[in-house]
Amino acid sequence: MASFSDDLDQFRSEVAAFIAEKCPQKLRDMPANERTICWGGKRFNFSCDEQRIWMENAAEVGLTAPRWPTEYGGAGLSRAQEKIFREEMAKANAPSPLESFGLWMLGPALLAFGTHEQKLKYLPEITNGRVRWCQGYSEPGAGSDLASVQTRAEDKGDHWVVNGSKIWTSYANKADWIFALVRTDREAPKHKGISFMLIDMEAEGVSTKPIKLISGASPFCETFFDNVTVPKTDDEGNSRIVGELNRGWDVAKHLLTHEREMIGGGGSGAAGGILGSRSLGAFIDTLDETLMDDPVIRSQTMELEIDTLAMGMTLERYKDMAKQGGVGHASAMLKYAGTELNKRRYEVLMSITGSEGVEWDGEHGSLAPEWLRTKANSIEGGTSEVMLDILSKRVLELPSS
């Protein structure tokens, strides 16, 4: 495994050279979109051979998980180094070598709550792109009330038997494993008695059904568990539960904070979607220039430009704060403000594109689904209302009723 210099300037040249050499030019020439994201996993269809090569090359030096420790398959970089790595990838137009819920969520959970053995077993499978994970938190009918877990795991001595269903399990139909909240003690109070369990999606009794959204097809699924047997420990003696038995809520809460920051990022300058890396103003320039003569559109666009840039600064500031000791519950602000801002942005985009924007398959074909999809941003991963509750109670310390 290559090791990188701690000196930032030197690191920058090393990593730039690495990208130049190891990320095939063909991949860097491809336009980035939803379908070119590399998710990895046993059943993943690489969009081209170069995608696989770049993933493997990056994984070899830990750069699929830049900040994870090297012993678990990461590159052990500092935040400053990671930033430089991402900057150099952007410069070289290199796509992210690997994305996955394993990298985003299960990894951080294991790093914080897993045993050394669990980390050794599960993390390298994630960083090298061999295993794809999905998340099983929400349940039909429970909505934001994540703690009202009904999916239950009955203790059968050396194994659990799991029954119930999860909703909003993104890409469950393509994932190899799921990390799920299950109730392991039905007598305990609501937030107790929940465990954070790792379940093989190939186990008998697991099935999935895709969910169609108002924006059209979606990666979301419903996932059903029908008498699924989950061994308490695997062949190497690793528990299938992360953290303590019946204390899965702690793990979940930890992860929710991560998720919030991720979704809040949607409000930053680099939102992707139809805008790509363009500003709203730049996008409008590509349309009819007389649009900006409308004072309503013009003032809304100016306001959004200001708020988007300020939100981007805030994300950076909070990341730096997190590095220096954490932001705690205030991260709920990022989720709330970022997703609400993104909704406003897309409302203006729809307004700007007028009757062309309302066509499913017109000139701005991806816009309408993206617009509708933004409406879910302020629901998934904790609704705006839940975020405001968290801020008022945990950050402002306003009294409960």
């Binding site: 059209g216 009757s355 066509e359």
Partner: protein, 374 residues
Amino acid sequence: MVTSLVPTEDEVMLRDAARGFLQESSPVSAFRANRDAGRTYDSGLWKEMAQMGWTGVLLPEDAGGSDMGHRAAGILSEEMGEVLAASPFISTAVMAATALKGAANDRLTGIADGSSIYALAVDEGPKHAPLRTGLKAEKSGNAFRLSGRKVFVADGAAATRVLVLARTAGSPGEAEGLTLFDLDADRAGLSRSAKHTIDERDHAQLDFDAVEATGDDVVGEVDGGMAALATALKAGQAALSAELLGVSAGAFGMTTGYLKERKQFGRTIGSFQALQHRAAHLFSEIEITASAIANAGRMMDESPEDAEIAVSIAKARATQTAKLAVSEGVQMHGGIGMTDEFDMGFFMKRARVGAEWLGDYGYHAARVAAARSF
């Protein structure tokens, strides 16, 4: 100053009857069935509307109409909006009926009996702008030859006849030199392509390739088409505003119903004060918009030539209120509101299309400003 905005007894009866009929014949589930079957509207429903006199709501009795007026047309539109009933009502029974008021009776009876479906082809770009019309009607002898493109033509694919605004003189941006033609939708050189819009209704692009028209096809005066069209557009805008009010009320009704039923964190979610206040705010917005809708209908009935500001207030308010109602509707329903299985998304999509059709918020706000001299 118009007559009281409170409904008359006749209006109350009309609303009750319309509501009863639509809930029976055209609940939102019917819209879903149409959507799943790829139907942009229900021709059976349209026939029933004709039998009840709805298609003739603005036509005189001697043309087979029921002559109930614009406020009545608004009440019908509002009720249709509340259940998302899709029909060419606004294009045909409101806008074409108004534009053709002085035309020969055979045109009108076709509207009244439901056999004609009219589409109004005005816009050529993504924003409503009648004066920007550039589609050319070149004069050759007694005839005209029309060439150009019209977009976002509501009910354009199903239409049997098309009212098309063309430029016979002047240049785009000028109000003079526009002529309104009433053409058979099958006329040679006219090709229509249906567009798949998010509200799953009929919107088409119309391409005119040297389509022949005669003086008989002209509505009103040559070069003076805006005279006939202006009132028709106002009538359509007033009715569409009413439909959007219905969309708002439909979405709001679903939402308050859900707030009273749904339990979370051990409580009915409607007991959370933050949601209560947002619902109450939305109620206020809907009530205020309802006044603007009623006022626009009254003005169209009593003094149509002065109705522009009333209509634009109505459309501006209705657009914003519907946007708020559907946004709050989806958000307060949480995840389920985002699924296609649930109806809320239909309201959101129709609200968006309705926001654009016949002029968006900014278009109408500018008209209000102009009328108030700033």
